[in-house]
Symmetry: C2
Subunit: 634 residues, 2 copies
């Protein structure tokens, strides 16, 4: 049962689609008080209580013992001490001595101190007085999740082919580079469905342009790749390059579509294209305008996109940079003491995504000027909505692949997400795993991390182990940054090991797709913490290295280097299945603690006693899969 | 059996004290070739081979699957993809299909590609042609370690009281702050032996000065604290502040003791004090001069030091900063494109510890001008040697506590090390654990990480779990950075849990001290990978979350948040001991995989069947311990 409590005049984020009567905030069951322009409330936790939620966020499935901020952040260093990633997913759930969920519908900052200051207390601070809070009663976590999910509407379902394996890099910068990727996979006999186009496919990083020199006759090229069964997925950035003669920029400027400075002039920030205007995606007319531009690429046969830099990421503002240069000039010839030196260094380091810049950007919401600070967390979601509204109208459902970096609850109805610019760190295998159920709670079903890790150099074994988790994530994409080691499967020695892993994905697609569709239709989760299924099992309750998958399975990736296996806990008797290429081994295992051996070319999976899942034969493309020709295992 | 192979005319690093005949490098058993001014050699590895070594370095006990650089680095972000920390410990050992050790005695860069480029190949590149390589034959890893350790001389043993619990912070900046720490521990009833003085105790960060306003009558204050059983441990930095009238700087300048620019003028770098001169520690006369300055503090009753910033860390050079300011000035008023913007940002970000600066510093070695690049890795070790030589002459052995941030093999004879500026990350509990055996291999016995983590904010549970590993590390020091949350044991709720953990340390001191002394006398390790003891046990061989301790024990800290226990693997039957305050529980456990429950106030420990260890009663100070009144457990 959901109750809605309202304070002031909240901005309509369109996160919730179900209608509820608004009750006064004074009746909010957890109490709370207004102080210094904030609303603060708290609840106590027993030692063994678990706190779930926050979707795409740092740290564990159990969010206890840290402080988080809802603030969409372009920060690629996903270390343990970060408080935000790219999303703001304001759903939280306590489970244990008491069980309830809350969703705070508020597009600006929220601080979640979940046992950080005081171990057994959660203190939540909403940075404003205009908000809705939804309180969800229930006895079981999954029940609460389903109730919440029902209220926010049905989750996005991508096209079937988006369950194939996908290869990305910043950047396959021209047709030859893309061809080499497809050839590399074909020659290695490794399945592949998509190749990504990062920022360099564009003409000087201009949205909805294609550089003719790099991709001559792009429409023909897209069509040729499609004949080979390959979908090209271009990136779209939030900022529109300021360039005379660039029609989209000129339209935007002429019509006043860009975000403003306080004085009404266009705000100018530096991103990949240099100076850009940021479309004011909070305005329906701007969304309609920007969304319609995707047609330029869909007309060329493109049927998938990833929206990026939409927190929005701002490398610098013209104002900020000039200030920094002035500071440097003023210090010239002085004998700098240490504090002045650090001040100068920090000035340059702090130019990107600076709070000062965000505070100086203005939107128009319902005809009123609103400071960006107050709506920061729905900027990216509205960019995605712009695209989603166009695709729904033009193509209907399940036709266009779309996922975004920044997001807010509500965007789950029109897109998936990826977990942003992670690193080639072993610890990021588990970070990926831990975000899957949390993202599912908030409606994001089509998601996954950059497999192999985006930043810095990967090793062969890391990519294999990362892929062996990615086999189960709806978005299975290998992606790496400029300047890092090549990490396409064929780039490493003995690519047969990679073939063995990726083929397992294709064999699982009938099962994964069915499980995905069911989760979307029934507002269910694909991935659940073990504690959801075994709430009275102490070891299962604390487990953050395994997940339940669908109604049948438990997954447990290997996440350490230089090991031939891992510990696993079985909360009940299960069958241990090892999948590798077309081979299968099965072994009955009893409830309890085990050490399992898993080679680099094997995918471990546990199936509950009495359950089975279907496997088809692998194919080089999803379009070649015969999903009706399946065998049941075990 | 050790053989020494020499190429060219190596600089005498004094790492090795045993005399060996120098054989020509052409006879080096692993071959190798000279190319482009480097010497490169390689060896193959079987799939199950383990590569040990490199002392203080990132990643695992098994170094396979990454590329490391020997280059003492002031870099506080100890993520998985770093290639160096603060030390250069050039010992490596293969164990498996072949078993041998090598020590490369070379004070400049070495690149160790250990299965990074090619999974089953190690490629080592020495950045020069003047070096010694020691090749150590043997059949067992521990045998090889002992042989190597014998060749490099007996490891440093600190005073007995240095095994007590130690509290540090950047900074307890005056006597009141130090008093508050001692009071806090006394009131909480938590044992304590040392309080650290970070840079703010000095007068404007000048080495060997004490700020009279912060610490009036310092000598009396030191003596008063000693009466309370507390040792004050001041920091000493490598750079000497350039200040007129500061006697140490003026002596150094007058006598030409500082490192030079190529033109013979003093090299000037910015560190904490602002502009400093860097003593040329490679010169015996400079070491004698600098070492004798410690007398200023020992005369005031100080009997322990930590040497810092001796990689050396250089925030900026005067030359570098001026160049950056010129660049900023030249860009003013221009419409910066993105590449120019990043170039500018990187220029400021790259001012610290810049390769360009290191290349422009000159030392005098045996009367000859030598570029810093060629001797970088022995700079910090020679700073420590300066102190060690003075202490040995003045006080004899085991009287003065001394440990350093930068180090090279050889420094282990006169000091310990700490593992530098780590983070309050759960993953850094395991990083600490993994470095312990590696550091032991290279002679560093007195060592440990900053417990609770230095950078960023710690949580109560993290500090408790970190301390529960620190209970076993010879250096047991809690240390935190400026601006972070207080992490003294009494700063958190329910300090009794902390008392329970720290008391366990004091109960273990007789055992730990005996084990330490034995390891020093017998060139043995205190901590060993499980694989050393159980080479044929596949699970034990791969285990990097447990360590063997002495002849009797196995340790296995809890290293994850929000869990009440962990998996543990017993390679043989053992007794599971839980220690907490004065309580003990024991349980016989059989060989195999177990899940053990460990509360936040408990220290888990396993004792081999048929072995026992001694425990004394806890006390508030090591000086109050009755080490003769012990009980044997189990």
């Amino acid at each position: 049962m959901i109750k809605k409590f309202t304070s002031g005049n909240p901005i309509d984020t369109q996160a919730v689609v179900e209608k509820f009567n608004a009750l006064p905030i004074a009746e909010f069951p957890l109490g709370g008080k207004f102080e210094n322009g904030n609303f603060v409330f708290e609840f106590d936790m027993a030692d063994s209580d678990i706190v779930y939620g926050l979707g795409e966020a740092p740290r564990g499935i159990n969010k206890r013992g840290w402080v988080y901020n809802s603030f969409c952040s372009d920060d690629p260093f996903h270390t343990e001490t970060k408080s935000s990633l790219y999303a703001a997913h304001n759903f939280l759930m306590l489970s244990g001595s008491k069980t309830f969920g809350i969703f705070i519908d508020f597009p600006s900052k929220i601080r979640w101190d979940i046992g950080y200051t005081t171990a057994n207390k959660t203190v939540i601070t909403i940075d404003g007085t205009d908000f809705d809070i939804y309180y969800i009663d229930g006895t079981k976590p999954l029940e609460i999740v389903k109730e919440f999910r029902k209220s926010i509407g049905t989750s996005y379902v991508p096209p079937f082919w988006a369950f194939g394996y996908q290869q990305s890099r910043w950047s396959y910068h021209n047709a030859e580079a893309v061809d080499a990727v497809v050839d590399g996979y074909n020659k290695a006999g490794i399945p592949l469905d998509c190749v990504y186009l990062d920022i360099d496919y564009m003409e000087r990083y201009k949205d909805f342009t294609v550089d003719d020199e790099k991709f001559p006759n792009f429409k023909d090229y897209v069509s040729k790749k499609r004949e080979e069964g390959i979908h090209l997925i271009p990136i779209i950035d939030a900022g529109v390059k300021k360039e005379n003669g660039y029609d989209i920029y000129e339209e935007g400027r002429k019509n006043g579509y860009f975000c403003k400075n306080e004085d009404g002039t266009d705000f100018e920030g530096g991103v990949w294209p240099g100076i850009v205007g940021f479309p004011d995606f909070l305005r329906p007319d701007v969304r309609k305008w920007f969304g319609s531009k995707y047609k330029i690429l869909t007309d060329m046969g493109i049927d998938g996109f990833w929206n990026d830099m939409n927190e929005p990421a701002i490398f610098y503002s013209v104002k900020g940079l000039n200030k920094a240069l002035d500071k440097a000039a003023s210090l010239k010839g002085q004998n700098l003491d240490l504090s002045k030196f650090f001040e100068l260094k920090d000035t340059f380091a702090g130019l990107s995504n600076s709070p000062e810049d965000y505070s100086s950007i203005y939107h128009t919401v319902d005809g009123k000027q609103v400071c960006h600070d107050q709506v920061h967390n729905i900027y990216g979601a509205n960019m995605t909505k712009a695209a989603g509204e166009y695709f729904a109208e033009k193509f209907g459902k399940e036709k266009i692949l779309m996922f975004s970096r920044a997001s807010y609850v509500g965007a789950h109805r029109s897109s998936g997400i990826w977990f942003g610019d992670n690193h080639s760190w072993w610890s990021h295998i588990l970070l990926d795993l831990k975000m899957l159920p949390s993202a599912n709670m908030c409606g994001f079903l089509y998601c996954g991390a950059d497999l192999g890790g985006f930043n810095e150099n990967a090793t062969r074994d890391l990519v294999l182990r990362f892929l062996a988790l990615g086999v189960f994530t709806p978005l299975m994409r290998n992606h790496a940054a400029l300047g890092t080691r090549n990490q396409e499967c064929y780039s490493f020695e003995n690519s047969d090991d990679f073939k063995d892993i990726v083929e397992v994905r294709y064999r699982l697609i009938p099962y994964l797709y069915r499980t995905f569709k069911k989760a979307s239709e029934e507002n269910d989760m694909i991935f659940r913490p073990l504690s959801f299924d075994y709430p009275d099992d102490k070891i299962a309750r604390e487990c953050e290295t395994q997940l339940m998958l669908g109604d049948e399975c438990m997954i447990c990736p290997v996440y350490e280097q230089n090991v031939g296996g891992r510990y696993v806990y079985l909360p009940e008797n299960m069958t241990f299945v090892k999948l590798s290429g077309t081979s299968i081994t099965t072994e009955k295992m009893s409830k309890g603690t085990h050490y399992i051996e898993v080679a680099l070319n094997e995918v471990p999976l546990f199936i509950k006693d009495g359950r089975q899942i279907e496997l088809c034969k692998p194919a080089m493309r999803t379009s070649q899969l015969d999903t009706t020709d399946t065998v049941m295992i075990p």
